[in-house]
């Protein structure tokens, strides 16, 4: 064996070895959800809600500060995407301006007795980005705590506001519960039931009734929030909650008028745990607040105790529970008892622990697949690919005799390289991916056919065997490169624009095109050269 052949053999074996190394730990190759079964969600973070939340938050903080500065009549309102303030006397303006300096990210325009604040574009972007990041983090937390094996959670979309959650092996049963965990922001707020509420916290039966009572306009800085009927109550009424709540709008027990101001929110929660009250057997949630939260809660309970008002615990803009206080509560340890089921308290505690999202989620896509469908698909897909592969092998040997065997060697190396590359990319095998695999094998053979036909032609022109092989490979080289490049374009664009199963398809194709380029030009040539070396005076070529 000459030095050159030895060198080529080493390269080939090294590449095959490396590919085998990457592929053989079969755990590297993951099956896509379409084959393995599982759920796939695509969610969109509703960034505008984060902007609104920030406006409301700014209003609460600003209102206090401005009133402290000596403008007791100042009223701040959130009006769509701007914050308007009225009731500021012109002589107080410099003081207020000083206060406003601390609130960066806003454009302020002054009027006679007030001002209007609008979020700047850069600030809006940072708020949205923050909401996206938080949402991603929180979803990761919640899914991890829920305990799903190998979850895949990725941020996508041009603005990064899309989140794709893929949970392999999750069945239809857990789907609804996980969906609930993903969509609800988990924003806990502790507020006061409004002074103007005439029902002492029992609420109005419908929203219309409430609006009627207030003659179509709610008192300033208050809002109506619904209090839903819980599963437990339904059960107590002798109804099956699974039948009554699934897929239907929640039943609302009452609409309660509460203050807009949030005294304590979920961000100040340290710890949350579900528990059971030993004396009454009721499910409850305990949580502890940090220093700031504890102070705020002390203030809140103080007001509630002094003014004989109720505290409303609001989760995701729905009232979970209302409580009365006999005295100011210090220490920041809170227990909520309501009409909860055990699963309710578990999910509730989980949401509180994982933190609150700034914005809610919208479901764009939801897919749930059972594993049996995938197993069937694998079965028929692989069968079809194998039949195709065998047909090609038979055809090549039948048509090109020993040269056909050369093509099969190239094809085998091709498959090893493809599997190896896919293993090293941690590529996900999807159903279209299997089809792509079969098709690239068909296309890889094309390159060999082009070469062999050319060699035949050169032999027909009266060239010697080594000469024919030499010119055959040389002349076909650019044809093969050109045709592979155009296919590569298509594969790459699929990769850029596709998602999920299509991406798997694109990866297989890209890898297949590259592998085929290598094997047809390098491996087939090497096999021929080696044979020529062994039989120097060869007169005929089996082609």
């Amino acid at each position: 064996m000459t030095k050159r052949s030895l060198w080529r053999l080493t390269v080939t074996l090294l590449i095959c070895g490396a590919c085998a190394y990457f592929f053989i730990p079969l755990s590297q190759v993951r099956l896509g959800l379409d084959l393995k079964g599982g759920v796939h969600f695509e969610l969109e973070v509703q960034g505008n809600e984060a902007l609104e939340a920030d406006l409301r938050d700014t209003r609460d903080r600003l209102q206090d500060r401005i009133r402290e500065k000596g403008c007791p009549d100042a009223v701040l309102k959130v009006n769509q995407n701007q914050l308007t303030a009225v009731g500021i006397p012109p002589d107080q303006r410099p003081d207020v301006e000083k206060v406003l300096k601390a609130f960066y990210g806003y454009d302020v325009s002054w009027a006679q007795t007030g001002f209007t604040m609008v979020q700047t574009a850069a600030y809006q972007k940072s708020l949205k980005d923050d909401a996206n990041k938080r949402a991603l983090q929180i979803i990761e937390n919640r899914i991890n705590q829920f305990g799903v094996a190998e979850p895949e959670i990725t941020a996508t979309g041009s603005e990064g506001n899309r989140i794709v959650v893929e949970l392999p092996g999750v069945g239809d049963a857990e789907r609804e519960r996980i969906k609930g965990l993903l969509t609800t922001p988990g924003r806990l707020e502790q507020r006061l039931v409004a002074k103007a509420d005439p029902t002492q916290g029992r609420g109005f039966p419908t929203r219309e009734k409430a609006m009627e009572f207030f003659k179509g306009k709610l008192p300033d800085n208050t809002e109506l929030l619904p209090e839903p009927v819980s599963d437990r109550e339904l059960r107590e009424q002798g109804k099956d909650p699974a039948v009554h709540t699934q897929g239907q709008p929640e039943q609302i027990r009452a609409w309660v008028l509460v203050e807009e101001k949030v005294y304590v929110d979920g961000a100040d929660i340290n710890k949350a745990d579900p528990s059971v009250d030993p004396s009454t057997d009721a499910n409850q949630i305990n949580y502890t607040l940090n220093k700031k939260g504890a102070d705020d809660f002390a203030t809140l309970s103080g007001i509630a105790a002094d003014e004989q008002r109720l505290i409303a615990i609001v989760l995701d803009r729905k009232i979970v529970s209302t409580l009365s206080c006999r005295e100011k509560i210090v220490g920041g340890s809170v227990r909520i008892t309501g009409h909860f089921t055990k699963a309710d308290t578990e999910d509730f505690a989980l949401k509180l622990k994982s933190g609150a999202m700034r914005a809610s989620m919208k479901f764009l896509e939801e897919r749930a697949m059972g594993p049996s469908l995938g197993a069937d698909s694998i079965h028929s897909g692989v069968r079809a690919a194998l039949i195709g592969f065998l047909t090609i092998i038979c055809f090549m040997v039948f048509y090109y005799k020993w040269s056909g065997v050369n093509a099969i060697v190239a094809l085998t190396v091709n498959i090893i390289v493809m599997l190896g590359l896919m293993g090293s990319f941690h590529a996900v095998i999807t159903l279209p991916g299997i089809a792509g695999f079969a098709l690239t094998i068909g296309m890889a053979v094309d390159a060999n056919i082009l070469i062999f036909e050319r060699i035949r032609e050169e032999l027909g022109n009266g060239k010697s065997v080594p000469g024919a092989i030499q010119t055959g490979f040389d002349k076909v080289f650019w044809t093969i490169v050109d045709s592979h490049v155009t296919q590569l374009f298509a594969a790459m664009l699929l990769f850029i624009f596709g998602t999920g199963p299509v991406k798997g398809f694109a990866v297989t194709l890209t890898v297949g095109v590259c592998a085929s380029l290598f094997t047809s030009i390098y491996i087939s040539r090497f096999v021929y050269d080696w044979i020529l070396e062994r039989h120097p005076g060869i007169k005929t070529l089996s082609i």
């Binding site: 939801e366 698909s377 039949i387 047909t391 002349k475």
Partner: protein, 405 residues
């Protein structure tokens, strides 16, 4: 063995006018039949990813007629469902159920609709009316676990709910795995073999075996659907652009135009036949159209390459372009046919044995390989000839080829 014993001498360019007329005629006819401009009333079938909606796959034990299923859905309040029957395994009937989303529909509506559909399907079980036990094939895993925790069939020390859940949880998972495997379970013998007898007895006593199994639920929001269409079109146009530029760079403008015309011809032909045979567009199908583009161009390049190579040869120096193109096609004819055959084998196997999921995807490739071969000869090459007649002297291509080589 050879395709042709002697080099063929077919005057392909003689038929260029007829070929152009016939194949564009077919495309036009397909287009008229499809009438895509009528929007929703056209013959184009779009998958739920493009329109937004629900796409479900269910399996029934025994023979269930498509019309019965439709009637049940209609009664259950789902009026506009598309139902397709698949015969896959003996003894089960598989259906795909598709419901298009209405405008402005949100996630809550689709949850309600899914519930409506599953209820309607469950209602089709005749046994359900007389047998009020829970259905082992569709009951949610949580409910099943709750049931065992409450009844405690193994007689474990009661009181600690968490411990009970830990004990029964793994068995429930096993049962769920089994029912997912059999879709649907038809006999209690299909329960896991190592299931303790008490649990098996509990299941047999409290559950009946329903005839329904839900294999797949997909729901797409209408707001994302427009985006999919746009992304798809973008991918196709960028791919075409990239190929166009590459061919201009490697060959000349006339080749590039010829190649793109052939490409468009192949896509339109495959599109027309795809719709004509009643296939439905899904995202993987679009992917296969992109593959078709790559393949069609690769095939054309084999012919173009030979035209370029021949144009350098002294014997073609003073020859008419028609002869140059004709000879080149004849010389490459055997390999054009062979390379197409190899891919055609694979596409054919996928089409026939690949199962219904791969059928939609391999059809465009199957058609595309055939038209791709045809168009390289009868569409791409004639365009080069026409281009040369209209825009250049007889030696235009040769000059370009010289400049490039």
């Amino acid at each position: 063995m050879k395709v042709f014993e002697h080099l063929p001498h077919i005057d392909f360019m003689k038929y260029k006018g007829i070929a152009l007329a016939v194949s564009w005629g077919i495309i036009l006819l397909c287009f008229l039949w499809i009438h895509p401009w009528k929007g929703a009333n056209s013959h184009v079938k779009l998958g739920m990813q493009f329109t937004g909606g629900i796409d479900m796959m269910v399996a029934f034990k025994g023979d269930v007629h498509q019309d019965d299923l439709r009637a049940a859905l209609y009664k259950g309040g789902v009026q506009d469902a598309g139902v397709v029957y698949y015969k896959d395994k003996p003894g089960t009937s598989m259906f795909s159920i598709k419901v298009k989303a209405r405008k402005g529909q949100d996630e809550k509506d689709s949850t309600i609709q899914i519930k409506q559909i599953t209820d309607a399907l469950k209602g089709m079980d005749a046994v359900a009316a007389s047998d009020h036990r829970m259905d082992l094939n569709t009951e949610s895993v949580n409910t099943m676990e709750d049931h065992w925790v409450q009844t405690n069939p193994l007689g474990l020390p009661a009181g600690d709910e968490t411990a009970l859940r830990l004990a029964y949880g793994p068995w429930i998972t096993k049962v769920a795995k089994a029912r997912e495997q059999y879709t649907p379970m038809t006999s209690y013998d299909q329960l896991p073999q190592d299931l303790p007898p008490q649990l098996r007895a509990s299941l047999e006593k409290n559950y009946r075996l329903g005839n329904l199994s839900i294999l797949k639920i997909e729901s797409f929001s209408p707001s994302i659907s427009g985006e999919w269409t746009w992304r798809t079109l973008q991918a196709v146009f960028w791919a075409m652009g990239a190929i166009l530029v590459y061919v201009i760079f490697r060959f000349t403008v006339s080749f590039s135009v010829g190649g793109i015309v052939a490409l468009i011809h192949d896509i339109l032909m495959a599109l027309g036949l795809f719709v004509f045979f009643g296939f439905e567009f899904s995202v993987p199908v679009v992917a296969s159209f992109l593959i078709l583009m790559g393949y069609s161009m690769a095939d054309t390049i084999v012919v173009f390459d030979r035209i370029r190579e021949n144009s350098h040869k002294p014997e073609y120096r003073r020859v008419d372009i028609v002869k140059l193109v004709n000879d080149s096609i004849n010389q490459t004819l055997s390999r054009t046919i062979l390379t197409s055959l190899s891919v055609l084998f694979v596409a054919f196997c996928l089409l026939v044995w690949g199962g219904h999921a791969l059928r939609d995807l391999s059809f465009p490739i199957f058609v595309g390989v055939i038209t791709g071969t045809y168009s390289s000869i009868f569409i791409a090459a004639p365009v080069v000839v026409y281009w040369d007649h209209w825009f250049g002297g007889h030696d235009k291509i040769k000059q370009h080829a010289h400049a490039r080589s």
